[in-house]
Protein backbone atom coordinates (compact mmCIF):
# COMPACT_ATOMS: atom_id res chain seq x y z
CA UNK A 1 0.00 0.00 0.00
CA UNK A 2 1.29 3.38 -0.91
CA UNK A 3 0.93 5.98 1.75
CA UNK A 4 -0.40 9.19 0.31
CA UNK A 5 0.01 12.35 2.28
CA UNK A 6 -1.66 15.47 1.05
CA UNK A 7 0.81 18.33 0.72
CA UNK A 8 -0.03 20.97 3.26
CA UNK A 9 -1.00 24.30 1.84
CA UNK A 10 -0.24 26.55 4.79
CA UNK A 11 2.60 29.00 4.45
CA UNK A 12 5.91 27.36 5.22
CA UNK A 13 8.04 28.73 7.98
CA UNK A 14 10.55 31.22 6.58
CA UNK A 15 14.04 30.02 5.89
CA UNK A 16 16.33 31.44 8.59
CA UNK A 17 18.51 34.26 7.27
CA UNK A 18 22.05 33.37 6.32
CA UNK A 19 24.61 34.68 8.82
CA UNK A 20 26.13 37.01 6.23
CA UNK A 21 22.78 38.55 5.28
CA UNK A 22 22.75 41.21 7.98
CA UNK A 23 26.28 42.26 7.12
CA UNK A 24 25.45 42.43 3.41
CA UNK A 25 22.40 44.59 4.08
CA UNK A 26 24.54 47.01 6.05
CA UNK A 27 27.02 47.15 3.19
CA UNK A 28 24.19 47.84 0.76
CA UNK A 29 22.88 50.66 2.95
CA UNK A 30 26.34 52.22 2.94
CA UNK A 31 26.56 51.79 -0.83
CA UNK A 32 23.24 53.61 -1.17
CA UNK A 33 24.96 56.46 0.69
CA UNK A 34 27.77 56.29 -1.92
CA UNK A 35 30.36 54.64 0.32
CA UNK A 36 33.07 53.32 -1.99
CA UNK A 37 34.73 51.22 0.72
CA UNK A 38 31.47 49.34 1.27
CA UNK A 39 31.19 48.80 -2.45
CA UNK A 40 34.70 47.32 -2.58
CA UNK A 41 33.83 44.93 0.23
CA UNK A 42 30.60 43.77 -1.40
CA UNK A 43 32.30 43.49 -4.78
CA UNK A 44 34.93 41.12 -3.40
CA UNK A 45 32.29 38.94 -1.72
CA UNK A 46 30.12 38.73 -4.81
CA UNK A 47 32.92 38.46 -7.33
CA UNK A 48 33.81 35.10 -5.86
CA UNK A 49 30.19 33.97 -5.66
CA UNK A 50 29.21 35.15 -9.09
CA UNK A 51 32.36 33.93 -10.85
CA UNK A 52 31.39 30.33 -10.58
CA UNK A 53 27.69 30.86 -11.10
CA UNK A 54 28.30 32.91 -14.22
CA UNK A 55 31.00 30.68 -15.64
CA UNK A 56 28.52 27.84 -15.45
CA UNK A 57 26.01 30.01 -17.24
CA UNK A 58 27.90 31.94 -19.94
CA UNK A 59 30.87 29.53 -20.06
CA UNK A 60 33.47 32.13 -20.90
CA UNK A 61 35.83 33.98 -18.56
CA UNK A 62 35.61 37.35 -20.28
CA UNK A 63 31.85 37.26 -20.54
CA UNK A 64 31.58 36.25 -16.90
CA UNK A 65 33.81 39.20 -15.91
CA UNK A 66 31.73 41.52 -18.06
CA UNK A 67 28.51 40.38 -16.42
CA UNK A 68 30.00 40.67 -12.92
CA UNK A 69 31.11 44.23 -13.57
CA UNK A 70 27.83 45.26 -15.19
CA UNK A 71 25.94 43.70 -12.29
CA UNK A 72 27.98 45.46 -9.64
CA UNK A 73 27.65 48.76 -11.48
CA UNK A 74 23.87 48.31 -11.33
CA UNK A 75 24.20 47.49 -7.61
CA UNK A 76 25.97 50.82 -7.10
CA UNK A 77 23.36 52.75 -9.08
CA UNK A 78 20.28 51.03 -7.65
CA UNK A 79 21.33 50.28 -4.07
CA UNK A 80 18.79 52.78 -2.75
CA UNK A 81 16.01 50.88 -4.49
CA UNK A 82 16.67 47.66 -2.54
CA UNK A 83 13.66 47.32 -0.26
CA UNK A 84 14.81 44.29 1.69
CA UNK A 85 11.97 42.12 0.42
CA UNK A 86 14.45 39.46 -0.63
CA UNK A 87 17.92 38.52 0.49
CA UNK A 88 20.75 40.65 -0.85
CA UNK A 89 22.18 37.64 -2.66
CA UNK A 90 18.83 36.96 -4.36
CA UNK A 91 18.66 40.56 -5.53
CA UNK A 92 22.25 40.67 -6.81
CA UNK A 93 22.12 37.26 -8.47
CA UNK A 94 18.82 38.21 -10.09
CA UNK A 95 20.54 41.17 -11.77
CA UNK A 96 23.42 38.95 -12.83
CA UNK A 97 21.06 36.28 -14.13
CA UNK A 98 19.17 38.73 -16.35
CA UNK A 99 22.38 40.16 -17.76
CA UNK A 100 23.85 36.71 -18.39
CA UNK A 101 20.62 35.48 -19.95
CA UNK A 102 20.77 38.32 -22.47
CA UNK A 103 24.25 37.21 -23.48
CA UNK A 104 23.23 33.57 -23.72
CA UNK A 105 20.21 34.48 -25.85
CA UNK A 106 22.38 36.64 -28.08
CA UNK A 107 24.28 33.45 -28.76
CA UNK A 108 27.50 34.45 -27.06
CA UNK A 109 28.76 30.92 -26.75
CA UNK A 110 32.18 29.40 -26.75
CA UNK A 111 33.70 26.13 -25.66
CA UNK A 112 33.53 25.49 -21.95
CA UNK A 113 36.60 27.00 -20.37
CA UNK A 114 35.59 26.29 -16.82
CA UNK A 115 38.08 23.98 -15.16
CA UNK A 116 37.22 23.00 -11.67
CA UNK A 117 40.19 20.75 -11.12
CA UNK A 118 43.83 21.60 -10.77
CA UNK A 119 45.64 18.47 -12.00
CA UNK A 120 48.77 19.36 -10.07
CA UNK A 121 46.97 19.58 -6.78
CA UNK A 122 48.75 17.41 -4.22
CA UNK A 123 45.44 16.17 -2.90
CA UNK A 124 44.69 14.56 -6.23
CA UNK A 125 47.91 12.68 -6.68
CA UNK A 126 46.86 9.47 -4.92
CA UNK A 127 44.30 6.99 -6.21
CA UNK A 128 41.46 8.40 -4.16
CA UNK A 129 42.29 11.86 -5.43
CA UNK A 130 42.41 10.60 -9.01
CA UNK A 131 39.01 8.97 -8.58
CA UNK A 132 37.63 12.18 -7.17
CA UNK A 133 39.07 14.11 -10.07
CA UNK A 134 37.47 11.78 -12.58
CA UNK A 135 34.15 12.16 -10.83
CA UNK A 136 34.39 15.93 -10.87
CA UNK A 137 35.35 15.92 -14.51
CA UNK A 138 32.37 13.70 -15.31
CA UNK A 139 30.08 16.02 -13.37
CA UNK A 140 31.53 19.06 -15.11
CA UNK A 141 30.98 17.47 -18.50
CA UNK A 142 27.46 16.42 -17.57
CA UNK A 143 26.63 19.91 -16.26
CA UNK A 144 28.10 21.41 -19.42
CA UNK A 145 25.76 19.25 -21.49
CA UNK A 146 22.65 20.59 -19.75
CA UNK A 147 20.63 23.46 -21.24
CA UNK A 148 21.73 26.73 -19.54
CA UNK A 149 18.46 27.29 -17.67
CA UNK A 150 18.55 23.80 -16.16
CA UNK A 151 22.26 24.09 -15.38
CA UNK A 152 21.73 27.31 -13.51
CA UNK A 153 18.96 25.88 -11.33
CA UNK A 154 21.31 23.05 -10.33
CA UNK A 155 24.10 25.50 -9.58
CA UNK A 156 21.91 27.82 -7.55
CA UNK A 157 20.51 25.00 -5.43
CA UNK A 158 23.33 22.49 -5.07
CA UNK A 159 26.28 24.82 -4.96
CA UNK A 160 24.89 28.10 -3.71
CA UNK A 161 22.22 26.67 -1.44
CA UNK A 162 19.28 28.77 -2.63
CA UNK A 163 15.74 27.65 -1.92
CA UNK A 164 13.28 26.93 -4.69
CA UNK A 165 11.45 30.20 -3.98
CA UNK A 166 14.69 32.19 -4.07
CA UNK A 167 15.65 30.61 -7.38
CA UNK A 168 12.23 31.57 -8.70
CA UNK A 169 12.93 35.20 -7.75
CA UNK A 170 16.46 35.15 -9.16
CA UNK A 171 15.37 33.64 -12.46
CA UNK A 172 12.10 35.58 -12.55
CA UNK A 173 10.17 32.34 -13.07
CA UNK A 174 7.24 30.65 -11.33
CA UNK A 175 8.16 28.20 -8.57
CA UNK A 176 6.69 25.35 -10.58
CA UNK A 177 8.92 26.19 -13.53
CA UNK A 178 11.94 25.99 -11.24
CA UNK A 179 10.79 22.59 -9.98
CA UNK A 180 10.27 21.34 -13.52
CA UNK A 181 13.70 22.56 -14.61
CA UNK A 182 15.24 20.94 -11.56
CA UNK A 183 13.48 17.67 -12.25
CA UNK A 184 14.61 17.51 -15.88
CA UNK A 185 18.13 18.61 -14.95
CA UNK A 186 18.42 15.81 -12.37
CA UNK A 187 17.06 13.23 -14.80
CA UNK A 188 19.51 14.28 -17.48
CA UNK A 189 22.43 14.46 -15.07
CA UNK A 190 21.69 10.97 -13.83
CA UNK A 191 21.59 9.65 -17.38
CA UNK A 192 24.76 11.48 -18.38
CA UNK A 193 26.66 10.33 -15.32
CA UNK A 194 25.54 6.72 -15.84
CA UNK A 195 26.69 6.89 -19.46
CA UNK A 196 30.05 8.24 -18.32
CA UNK A 197 30.69 5.27 -16.05
CA UNK A 198 33.38 2.89 -17.37
Amino acid sequence: MVATVKQETRTPEPTPPRPAEREERLLLERIAAKDVAAFRALYLVYHKRMSRFLLRFVRHHELAEEVINDTMYVVWCKAQEFRGESQVSTWVLGIAYRKALKLVRKGARSPLVYTAVDPDSAALQDDAGAGQRELRESIDRALGALPPLQRIVIELAYFMGHSCEEIAVITDSPVNTVKTRMFHARERLRGLLEDARP
Binding site: P12, K48, R52, M160, G161, K179
Partner: protein, 234 residues
Protein backbone atom coordinates in the same frame (compact mmCIF):
# COMPACT_ATOMS: atom_id res chain seq x y z
CA UNK B 1 5.47 -0.32 2.98
CA UNK B 2 8.20 0.20 0.45
CA UNK B 3 7.35 0.07 -3.25
CA UNK B 4 9.26 -2.03 -5.75
CA UNK B 5 12.21 -0.13 -7.10
CA UNK B 6 10.91 0.25 -10.69
CA UNK B 7 7.65 1.69 -9.39
CA UNK B 8 9.43 4.24 -7.27
CA UNK B 9 9.15 7.89 -8.40
CA UNK B 10 12.93 8.13 -8.60
CA UNK B 11 12.82 5.68 -11.51
CA UNK B 12 10.21 7.58 -13.53
CA UNK B 13 10.76 10.09 -16.31
CA UNK B 14 7.77 12.26 -15.50
CA UNK B 15 7.76 15.03 -12.95
CA UNK B 16 6.71 13.65 -9.57
CA UNK B 17 3.27 14.22 -8.21
CA UNK B 18 3.94 15.97 -4.89
CA UNK B 19 0.70 14.62 -3.45
CA UNK B 20 2.44 11.41 -2.47
CA UNK B 21 5.06 11.35 0.25
CA UNK B 22 7.66 9.68 -2.00
CA UNK B 23 7.14 12.24 -4.71
CA UNK B 24 7.21 15.12 -2.28
CA UNK B 25 10.51 13.91 -0.84
CA UNK B 26 12.00 13.29 -4.27
CA UNK B 27 11.06 16.76 -5.45
CA UNK B 28 12.47 18.40 -2.35
CA UNK B 29 15.73 16.43 -2.24
CA UNK B 30 17.93 19.06 -3.93
CA UNK B 31 16.76 21.69 -1.45
CA UNK B 32 16.99 19.24 1.43
CA UNK B 33 20.62 18.62 0.49
CA UNK B 34 21.19 22.36 0.15
CA UNK B 35 19.48 22.84 3.54
CA UNK B 36 17.29 25.41 1.85
CA UNK B 37 13.92 24.07 3.01
CA UNK B 38 11.79 25.47 5.79
CA UNK B 39 12.11 23.65 9.12
CA UNK B 40 8.91 21.68 8.70
CA UNK B 41 9.81 20.34 5.25
CA UNK B 42 13.34 19.52 6.44
CA UNK B 43 11.84 17.43 9.21
CA UNK B 44 9.34 15.76 6.91
CA UNK B 45 11.98 14.75 4.35
CA UNK B 46 14.35 13.59 7.10
CA UNK B 47 11.72 11.38 8.69
CA UNK B 48 10.77 9.83 5.36
CA UNK B 49 14.38 9.05 4.52
CA UNK B 50 14.73 7.11 7.75
CA UNK B 51 12.30 4.42 6.63
CA UNK B 52 12.39 4.56 2.78
CA UNK B 53 15.29 2.68 1.21
CA UNK B 54 14.62 3.88 -2.37
CA UNK B 55 14.54 7.53 -1.37
CA UNK B 56 17.69 6.99 0.71
CA UNK B 57 19.44 5.68 -2.40
CA UNK B 58 18.29 8.71 -4.40
CA UNK B 59 19.49 10.92 -1.57
CA UNK B 60 22.90 9.22 -1.48
CA UNK B 61 23.28 9.51 -5.27
CA UNK B 62 22.55 13.23 -5.23
CA UNK B 63 24.66 13.83 -2.14
CA UNK B 64 27.70 12.67 -4.11
CA UNK B 65 26.87 15.20 -6.79
CA UNK B 66 26.39 18.04 -4.32
CA UNK B 67 29.55 17.21 -2.38
CA UNK B 68 31.57 17.00 -5.55
CA UNK B 69 30.23 20.32 -6.82
CA UNK B 70 30.87 22.05 -3.51
CA UNK B 71 34.39 20.68 -3.22
CA UNK B 72 35.36 21.96 -6.65
CA UNK B 73 38.29 24.33 -6.32
CA UNK B 74 37.51 28.02 -6.51
CA UNK B 75 37.45 29.53 -9.94
CA UNK B 76 40.43 31.77 -10.57
CA UNK B 77 38.85 34.94 -11.87
CA UNK B 78 40.95 37.73 -10.39
CA UNK B 79 38.77 40.47 -8.91
CA UNK B 80 41.21 43.38 -8.86
CA UNK B 81 41.17 44.31 -12.55
CA UNK B 82 37.39 44.12 -12.68
CA UNK B 83 37.05 46.14 -9.48
CA UNK B 84 39.30 48.90 -10.84
CA UNK B 85 37.29 49.03 -14.05
CA UNK B 86 33.98 49.30 -12.19
CA UNK B 87 35.33 51.94 -9.82
CA UNK B 88 36.44 54.05 -12.79
CA UNK B 89 33.03 53.67 -14.35
CA UNK B 90 31.40 54.68 -11.07
CA UNK B 91 33.67 57.71 -10.75
CA UNK B 92 32.71 58.86 -14.26
CA UNK B 93 29.03 58.41 -13.41
CA UNK B 94 29.30 60.31 -10.15
CA UNK B 95 31.07 63.18 -11.93
CA UNK B 96 28.22 63.31 -14.45
CA UNK B 97 25.61 63.21 -11.69
CA UNK B 98 27.46 65.94 -9.75
CA UNK B 99 27.53 68.09 -12.90
CA UNK B 100 23.79 67.80 -13.32
CA UNK B 101 23.26 68.50 -9.63
CA UNK B 102 25.29 71.71 -9.91
CA UNK B 103 23.23 72.78 -12.92
CA UNK B 104 19.98 72.09 -11.12
CA UNK B 105 21.17 73.46 -7.77
CA UNK B 106 19.52 76.89 -8.06
CA UNK B 107 16.17 75.33 -8.82
CA UNK B 108 16.59 72.77 -6.06
CA UNK B 109 17.50 75.50 -3.59
CA UNK B 110 14.52 77.52 -4.70
CA UNK B 111 12.23 74.61 -4.12
CA UNK B 112 13.57 74.13 -0.65
CA UNK B 113 13.15 77.68 0.61
CA UNK B 114 10.39 80.13 1.32
CA UNK B 115 11.01 81.75 -2.03
CA UNK B 116 9.06 78.89 -3.56
CA UNK B 117 5.85 80.88 -3.10
CA UNK B 118 7.45 83.91 -4.73
CA UNK B 119 8.76 81.78 -7.61
CA UNK B 120 5.36 80.27 -8.08
CA UNK B 121 3.80 83.74 -8.18
CA UNK B 122 6.37 84.85 -10.78
CA UNK B 123 5.64 81.75 -12.82
CA UNK B 124 1.91 82.36 -12.61
CA UNK B 125 2.37 86.00 -13.66
CA UNK B 126 4.51 84.91 -16.60
CA UNK B 127 1.86 82.42 -17.67
CA UNK B 128 -0.90 85.04 -17.43
CA UNK B 129 1.23 87.50 -19.43
CA UNK B 130 1.88 84.85 -22.06
CA UNK B 131 -1.81 84.07 -22.33
CA UNK B 132 -2.60 87.79 -22.81
CA UNK B 133 0.07 88.18 -25.50
CA UNK B 134 -1.16 85.07 -27.30
CA UNK B 135 -4.74 86.32 -27.09
CA UNK B 136 -3.80 89.67 -28.63
CA UNK B 137 -1.81 87.95 -31.36
CA UNK B 138 -4.69 85.62 -32.18
CA UNK B 139 -7.09 88.54 -32.34
CA UNK B 140 -4.83 90.39 -34.73
CA UNK B 141 -4.48 87.28 -36.82
CA UNK B 142 -8.24 86.91 -37.19
CA UNK B 143 -8.56 90.56 -38.26
CA UNK B 144 -5.69 90.09 -40.72
CA UNK B 145 -3.74 93.07 -39.44
CA UNK B 146 0.01 93.16 -40.00
CA UNK B 147 0.28 89.44 -40.54
CA UNK B 148 2.31 88.69 -43.58
CA UNK B 149 3.40 85.56 -45.25
CA UNK B 150 5.79 85.06 -48.06
CA UNK B 151 2.86 84.55 -50.41
CA UNK B 152 0.55 87.33 -49.28
CA UNK B 153 -1.74 88.25 -52.12
CA UNK B 154 -1.38 91.76 -53.44
CA UNK B 155 -4.56 93.49 -52.30
CA UNK B 156 -5.23 95.61 -55.25
CA UNK B 157 -3.26 94.59 -58.24
CA UNK B 158 -2.90 97.49 -60.58
CA UNK B 159 -2.67 96.40 -64.20
CA UNK B 160 0.59 98.23 -64.74
CA UNK B 161 2.35 96.65 -61.73
CA UNK B 162 5.44 94.92 -63.05
CA UNK B 163 5.91 91.27 -62.15
CA UNK B 164 9.05 89.20 -61.91
CA UNK B 165 9.60 85.49 -62.38
CA UNK B 166 12.12 84.23 -59.85
CA UNK B 167 13.77 80.90 -59.06
CA UNK B 168 15.79 80.62 -55.87
CA UNK B 169 18.48 78.19 -54.93
CA UNK B 170 16.98 75.25 -52.98
CA UNK B 171 19.37 75.92 -50.12
CA UNK B 172 17.89 79.35 -49.44
CA UNK B 173 15.73 79.55 -46.37
CA UNK B 174 12.37 81.29 -46.30
CA UNK B 175 13.93 84.04 -44.21
CA UNK B 176 16.62 84.64 -46.81
CA UNK B 177 14.02 84.71 -49.59
CA UNK B 178 11.95 87.22 -47.62
CA UNK B 179 15.02 89.41 -47.08
CA UNK B 180 15.78 89.41 -50.81
CA UNK B 181 12.18 90.29 -51.67
CA UNK B 182 12.11 93.05 -49.04
CA UNK B 183 15.20 94.61 -50.62
CA UNK B 184 13.42 94.96 -53.97
CA UNK B 185 9.99 95.64 -52.47
CA UNK B 186 8.55 92.45 -54.01
CA UNK B 187 5.46 90.53 -52.98
CA UNK B 188 4.85 86.96 -53.99
CA UNK B 189 1.64 86.59 -55.94
CA UNK B 190 2.11 83.05 -57.12
CA UNK B 191 4.31 80.03 -56.57
CA UNK B 192 6.44 78.34 -55.95
CA UNK B 193 5.22 76.01 -58.71
CA UNK B 194 6.51 72.48 -59.34
CA UNK B 195 9.69 73.92 -60.85
CA UNK B 196 10.19 76.31 -57.95
CA UNK B 197 9.10 79.40 -59.91
CA UNK B 198 7.80 82.38 -57.92
CA UNK B 199 5.81 85.21 -59.44
CA UNK B 200 6.58 88.41 -57.59
CA UNK B 201 4.98 91.78 -58.10
CA UNK B 202 6.66 95.12 -57.50
CA UNK B 203 3.82 97.39 -56.32
CA UNK B 204 6.10 100.36 -55.75
CA UNK B 205 7.19 100.25 -59.42
CA UNK B 206 3.62 100.53 -60.73
CA UNK B 207 3.28 103.21 -63.35
CA UNK B 208 7.05 103.53 -63.76
CA UNK B 209 8.57 102.98 -67.12
CA UNK B 210 10.18 99.69 -66.17
CA UNK B 211 13.49 101.05 -64.99
CA UNK B 212 12.82 100.09 -61.42
CA UNK B 213 11.82 96.56 -62.39
CA UNK B 214 14.94 96.25 -64.54
CA UNK B 215 17.09 97.50 -61.65
CA UNK B 216 15.46 94.97 -59.32
CA UNK B 217 16.16 92.15 -61.78
CA UNK B 218 19.80 93.21 -62.16
CA UNK B 219 20.22 93.36 -58.40
CA UNK B 220 18.56 89.98 -57.89
CA UNK B 221 20.66 88.32 -60.62
CA UNK B 222 23.79 89.45 -58.79
CA UNK B 223 22.71 87.57 -55.65
CA UNK B 224 24.25 84.09 -55.30
CA UNK B 225 21.00 82.48 -54.14
CA UNK B 226 19.00 83.59 -57.17
CA UNK B 227 19.06 81.18 -60.11
CA UNK B 228 16.62 83.04 -62.34
CA UNK B 229 15.25 86.58 -62.34
CA UNK B 230 13.31 88.04 -65.26
CA UNK B 231 10.44 90.46 -65.90
CA UNK B 232 7.21 88.68 -66.76
CA UNK B 233 6.15 89.44 -70.30
CA UNK B 234 9.61 90.39 -71.51
Amino acid sequence: MTRRNEDHPAMRLVRPDPDTEHDFVLEQLPWYLAQALDAQSMRRVGEHLQHCESCRQAHAREAVLVTSMRESPAVDLAPQAGLSAVLQRIERRERRVAGWSRLLAPWTALRNTRTLAFATAVQAAAIVGLVIVLGVMMKRETTGQDYRTLSNAVPAHAPDTPQLRLVFDDRLTSIEIRQLLDRVGGQIVDGPGPRGIFTVSLPHAAGADGEEAQAAVQWLRARPGVRLAEIVGH
